[in-house]
């Protein structure tokens, strides 16, 4: 299983519909800069409530797309926000950014291959 992008899991979530999965991948890629910026704003301003909520939102998208590593990291950020324990949030955010990038690379490659 690829932890950056488990395409089999994602395809099962999409009910086996490859076109839908591709659409979801590109929808996420279009939205991820905004979602990550919102998390970054929360971390930089030390707003634990916003961190919990923004991390939860991206987690909801990632978990449906088979992005296992990024989902776990978003979940950690959400928990940091919920517990108002954001000392290490910046490091975890950097990790999330890298994992989202790895997911997007793997997922867009999958989408292009399955379009051929």
């Amino acid at each position: 299983m690829n932890r950056a992008f488990d395409h089999e899991r994602a395809l099962a979530v999409a009910g086996g519909d490859k076109d839908l999965l591709k659409e979801l991948i590109f929808l996420f890629i279009g939205q991820s800069p905004g979602l990550l910026s919102a998390i970054a704003d929360a971390v930089q301003t030390g707003d634990a409530f916003e961190l919990e909520h923004t991390a939860h939102t991206i987690k909801g998208a990632l978990v449906n797309l088979g992005a296992k590593s990024a989902t776990e990291t978003a979940s950690s950020l959400e928990a940091m926000g919920a517990n108002s324990d954001i000392e290490h949030a910046l490091t975890t955010l950097h990790q999330l950014v890298m994992e989202v990038e790895a997911f997007e690379n793997a997922a867009s490659e999958y989408a292009e291959i399955s379009a051929e």
Partner: protein, 240 residues
């Protein structure tokens, strides 16, 4: 069946909408609990609500509390759909009146089985059939205020389609309508769906009188002008 999906994440919303539409559900969307309440006010015939928990402005738990306190919507089955899978959240949701819980990632087959269970809990509806939009709206609002689920149709043909796809307990139909009139609709319903109660609504100077419609099998005859209280009193006993 009409489902209101309440979800702030665009990917989850697209996924849920597409899956539900594939299963032939009609999907209405809202991105916050407050947005969901506006949709409920605009759409009289929402059958099932599927809502995320953590959302901006008004979360899923607050939406549940609102629904349970509201006579118009307290009977709509609600399924919570969230990445949260801790017992505390599940327990709180059920205590607030949710009938079921789906944990993300979505499992389409599991989702479908939960929706089938929710469908069985959808209360029966009153179907209002009238080509005059204003009359439909007035009748619909009177019944909705009484907590009765309402579906509207502007023609007899559309009414028959709705009856085929929904749990209809009572039909309130105008007699004078273009194409299929209320008498033809009454006969069609009584032939094919004898358990549905049918009331015909007409003015004093209509083509058909009370005796005509009662001998054609109607369960009641309502003459304009009618009051909201009268309509509710006549319809309420037949809503199961």
């Amino acid at each position: 069946m009409k489902i209101l999906v309440v979800e702030d994440d665009a990917v989850s919303m697209k996924l849920l909408s597409t899956i539900l539409e594939k299963y032939a559900y009609e999907v209405i969307t809202a991105v916050t609990g407050r947005d969901a309440i506006s949709q409920l006010e605009k759409n009289l015939s929402i059958d099932i609500i599927m809502t995320d928990i953590m959302m901006p402005v008004m979360d899923g738990f607050h939406l549940l509390s609102y629904l349970r306190a509201d006579v118009n919507h307290r009977r709509i089955p609600v399924i919570l759909c969230s990445t949260r899978n801790d017992l505390v959240s599940v327990k709180r949701g059920i205590e607030l009146g949710a009938m079921d819980y789906v944990v993300k990632p979505i499992e389409p087959d599991l989702l479908l089985s939960k929706l089938k269970r929710a469908e069985a809990r959808v209360p029966g509806a009153a179907l209002i059939v009238n080509h005059e939009e204003l009359v439909c709206d007035i009748l619909g609002r009177s019944l909705t205020r009484e907590g009765i689920r309402v579906i509207m149709a502007s023609t007899g043909a559309r009414a028959l389609e709705i009856i085929k796809e929904n749990k209809i307990c009572v039909v309130l139909t105008a007699i004078e309508m273009p194409e299929m009139n209320g008498m033809d609709l009454l006969i069609e319903i009584k032939e094919n769906y004898p358990s549905i109660h049918v009331f015909l609504i007409t003015g004093h100077d209509g083509q058909y009188g009370k005796e005509d419609v009662m001998s054609a099998g109607a369960d009641g005859f309502i003459t304009k002008p009618f009051t909201s209280a009268e309509i509710s009193r006549r319809v309420r006993p037949f809503i199961k």
